[in-house]
C-alpha cells in the first residue's frame, strides 16, 4: 500500500504530510508534527485522552484515519495555549487543582474549549455530559467540573470587560 499526501490546517498553519495508509490523526500530530501535548491513553476510543478539535468539534484523534479529514482545521492543546500566559480554561484548571498526573488534562481542556465555544453559560449537567467520554484516573471529576464552570465565568467576564 502506498503513502498518500494529506493537507490539514493545524493550529492555524497549513501543513502537507505524507502519511502511511491507516495512519490516525494522533500518529500524525505526535510523530510527524511533534505535537506531543495530545496524549495516547487507549488507542481504542475509550478514554478521551487524545481529544482534539476538528473543524471546531471534539474528536478522538486515535480513532480518526487522517486520510478521511483532508482539508480539515485541527486544533490541539498547543494551539489553544497563547504565546504568553494561559488560556482562561488552563488558568481555571491550574487554580482549581483540576490536574494531578496531567495525562488526561489536554483532552479535558479541549472538550471544555468545544463546550464553551458553543455554550458560554453551561449548567453543571452540561459539563458532566461534555466530559462523559473522558476518563481521569487521578483527580476525580469534581475538581474538573468546577474548573470548567469557573472557566466559563472567566471567559464571560473577560468578554464583558472587553465590551465595556
Amino acid at each position: 500500500m502506498k503513502h498518500s499526501v494529506v493537507s490539514l490546517t493545524i493550529n492555524g498553519a497549513e501543513r502537507q504530510m505524507l502519511v502511511a495508509p491507516g495512519s490516525t490523526l494522533i500518529d500524525v500530530l505526535r510523530e510527524s508534527q511533534g505535537l506531543t501535548g495530545t496524549r495516547r491513553g487507549c488507542e481504542q476510543g475509550a478514554c478521551g485522552t487524545c481529544t482534539v478539535l476538528v473543524d471546531g468539534k471534539t474528536a478522538m484523534s486515535c480513532m480518526l484515519p487522517v486520510e478521511t479529514i483532508e482539508g480539515a482545521h485541527v486544533e490541539t492543546i498547543e494551539g489553544l495555549t497563547p504565546p504568553q500566559g494561559l488560556h482562561p480554561i488552563q488558568e481555571a484548571f491550574l487554580q482549581g487543582f483540576a490536574t494531578q498526573c496531567g495525562f488526561c488534562t489536554s483532552g479535558m481542556i479541549m472538550v471544555a474549549a468545544a463546550l464553551l465555544a458553543k455554550n458560554p453559560n453551561p449548567s453543571r449537567e452540561d459539563v458532566v455530559r461534555a466530559i462523559s467520554g473522558n476518563i481521569c484516573r487521578c483527580t476525580g471529576y469534581e475538581a474538573i467540573i468546577d474548573a470548567i464552570l469557573d472557566a466559563a465565568v472567566r471567559i464571560r467576564s473577560a468578554a464583558h470587560a472587553e465590551a465595556a
Binding site: 496524549r39 494561559l86 488552563q90 484548571f93 490536574t99 496531567g102 488534562t105
Partner: protein, 453 residues
C-alpha cells in the same frame, strides 16, 4: 471541613506546619495544563525498533517448543528475543532488600505460570510489523492443571521452581503474630463472632500505559526513558539482570501518567534495554491498553477470616485472623504486602489475645503487586466490616464500640510495641462532631493520653 487542629500533639511538633492544611500548587501543573509536560513517550528517536510480546494463551503449561520461522519472515522484523538472550534470567524485584529466592524469569524457559505471561519479544521496524510477527510465533504448549484458589493452592502440587506454593517467612509458611492465648479468650468470651471477607484483584488502570524507550548512547551506556514509579529499583534490577555495572545504565523518568503502585514492577525496562544492547538501536516497549489491563500487576485479591471473642459490653478479648494474599504466579511485591498486612493486624484496637497467620500464596493468576496501601487496605476493609458486624450483633453504636476498644497511649500491641502518639479516640470524636452525632458522655470525655473512661 474542620480546620486541622494543630493544638493536638502540640508538644511533639517542633516546627510550624506551613503546608499541611494549606493548598499548594503542584510544581508541574503548568506543564500539565499546557500539554508541555514531557512524558516518556514524548521523547522519540529516529530508527527506533518497536517491541511486542508473544504472550501465553494458557494459565499453566509446559512450553514444548517455540517456532519463530513464520514470524521472522514478516517484513520489518529484526530479531526475536527469548530467555536464551537474557544474561541473568531469574530475579525477584525485592532482592535489592534481601528478599529471595529469585522466583521470576524475565522470559520463561520451559513453562508459563499465568495467562498473558510474556514468552518472547519481537523487535520490528514498526509496531504493526511487530504485532503481526508476534501473532505468527507458534508456541507448542502442554497444559498443566492451573490453581486459582488460595486455599486450594496451599495444599495442591507445588508448581513453582522453588518448591512451595507460598512464600516462606523465616522457616514458616506464613507471617505470624502470637500474643496471649486466643483459645482461652474464646472460652471466656460471651460471644464468638466469625466472618469471612474477600476481595477481587483490582487493576490501577492508569491513563498512560506502562512503557519505556531504551536508547544506546555513543559512550556505551543505555539511557532508558521510562514511566516507572521506581527509578532506582529499576536501575539496580536491570543492572543485575543484564549483568552490566550500574553506571552503564541511565534512567530518565519521574513523570508518570498515573501509577497508583501499578508502575513499580520492573518488567518492560530490562527487555527493552536488552533489545537495545543487542541491536544497537533504540527500542520502545509500551503496553497496549489490553496488556495494561491483563498483565500489569493488580492489587492482590485477599481472603480474610476473622474470629472474635467478644464480651456483652463490647470488649473484644480475643481475635484470630487467617489471611491469604493471592500473589498470583510470582512474588513481586506481595511478600512485602503480606508482611504489611500482618503488621496491620489486629487493627487499631487493644486486644489481649491475638493470633494471626498471614499467607503469601502463589496461584496461576496474574501476579499482583503494589497498589495504594497494599496489604493494608483490604485488611482494613475486613477489620472495619467486622467491627460493624459486632456492633450490629450487640446492638451497639459502631463508633462507641470502636472507642471502647481503641488503643491508647501505653497499651501493649500484639507486636509487642507500646502504643505512643495514638489519636484514634480523638479522630472518632472529631468524626462524630462533624457528622452531628451525640456520643454518650463517657465516650465524649475519653482521651488517647489516659486509660481513664
Amino acid at each position: 471541613m474542620e480546620k486541622i487542629d494543630t493544638s493536638f500533639f502540640a508538644k511533639e511538633r517542633e516546627a510550624e506546619l506551613s503546608v499541611v492544611g494549606e493548598s499548594v500548587q503542584r510544581a508541574d501543573a503548568r506543564g500539565h495544563v499546557t500539554g508541555r509536560t514531557q512524558f516518556y513517550e514524548d521523547v522519540t528517536f529516529p530508527n527506533t525498533l518497536h517491541l511486542k510480546m508473544v504472550r501465553s494463551t494458557r494459565h499453566h503449561a509446559l512450553i514444548k517448543g517455540i517456532d519463530t520461522e513464520a514470524a521472522m519472515k514478516v517484513p520489518g522484523v529484526v530479531r526475536i528475543l527469548t530467555h536464551k538472550d537474557v544474561p541473568n534470567n531469574w530475579y525477584t524485584i525485592l532482592k535489592l532488600i534481601g528478599v529471595g529466592p529469585d522466583d521470576e524469569p524475565v522470559l520463561p524457559e520451559d513453562r508459563v505460570l499465568f495467562m498473558g505471561e510474556q514468552i518472547c519479544a519481537v523487535l520490528a521496524e514498526t509496531p504493526q510489523a511487530a504485532l503481526e510477527a508476534a501473532r505468527r510465533v507458534v508456541v507448542d504448549y502442554e497444559d498443566l492443571p492451573p490453581v486459582f484458589d488460595v486455599e486450594a493452592a496451599m495444599t495442591s502440587t507445588p508448581f513453582k521452581k522453588d518448591g512451595t506454593n507460598y512464600f516462606v517467612y523465616e522457616g514458616h509458611n506464613c507471617r505470624r503474630i502470637r500474643f496471649g492465648d486466643v483459645e482461652k479468650g474464646f472460652a471466656e468470651a460471651d460471644h464468638v463472632i466469625e466472618h469471612r471477607y474477600e476481595s477481587s484483584p483490582i487493576e490501577h488502570a492508569p491513563t498512560e500505559t506502562t512503557g519505556c524507550t531504551a536508547k544506546p548512547e555513543g559512550n556505551g551506556r543505555i539511557t532508558i526513558y521510562s514511566n516507572t514509579q521506581a527509578l532506582y529499583f529499576t536501575l539496580d534490577n536491570m543492572a543485575l539482570i543484564l549483568g552490566v555495572p550500574f553506571n552503564k545504565l541511565r534512567l530518565v523518568g519521574g513523570t508518570v501518567g498515573g501509577g497508583f503502585g501499578g508502575k513499580v514492577d520492573v518488567i518492560v525496562e530490562p527487555i527493552a534495554a536488552l533489545g537495545a544492547m543487542l541491536t544497537n538501536r533504540p527500542v520502545k516497549y509500551a503496553y497496549s491498553r489490553a496488556e495494561e489491563m491483563q498483565v500489569s500487576s493488580p492489587r492482590a485479591a485477599e481472603r480474610i477470616y476473622i474470629k472474635d471473642g467478644v464480651m456483652k459490653d463490647g470488649r473484644i478479648i480475643a481475635r484470630k485472623i487467617t489471611l491469604y494474599v493471592d500473589a498470583g504466579a510470582y512474588c513481586r511485591h506481595s511478600t512485602y504486602g503480606t508482611t504489611k498486612a500482618a503488621a496491620h493486624m489486629p487493627g487499631p484496637y487493644t486486644i489481649p489475645n491475638v493470633h494471626v497467620d498471614a499467607y503469601c500464596v502463589y496461584t496461576n493468576r496474574t501476579p499482583s503487586s503494589a497498589m495504594r496501601g497494599f496489604g493494608v487496605t483490604i485488611g482494613d476493609f475486613a477489620l472495619e466490616s467486622q467491627m460493624d458486624q459486632i456492633a450490629r450483633f450487640l446492638d451497639m453504636d459502631p463508633m462507641e464500640l470502636r472507642l471502647l476498644n481503641a488503643y491508647r497511649d501505653g497499651d501493649m500491641k500484639a507486636h509487642r510495641k507500646k502504643v505512643d502518639g495514638a489519636a484514634l479516640v480523638e479522630v472518632i470524636q472529631a468524626a462524630a462532631r462533624q457528622t452531628g452525632k451525640q456520643l454518650a458522655p463517657r465516650f465524649a470525655k475519653m482521651s488517647s493520653m489516659t486509660r481513664e473512661g
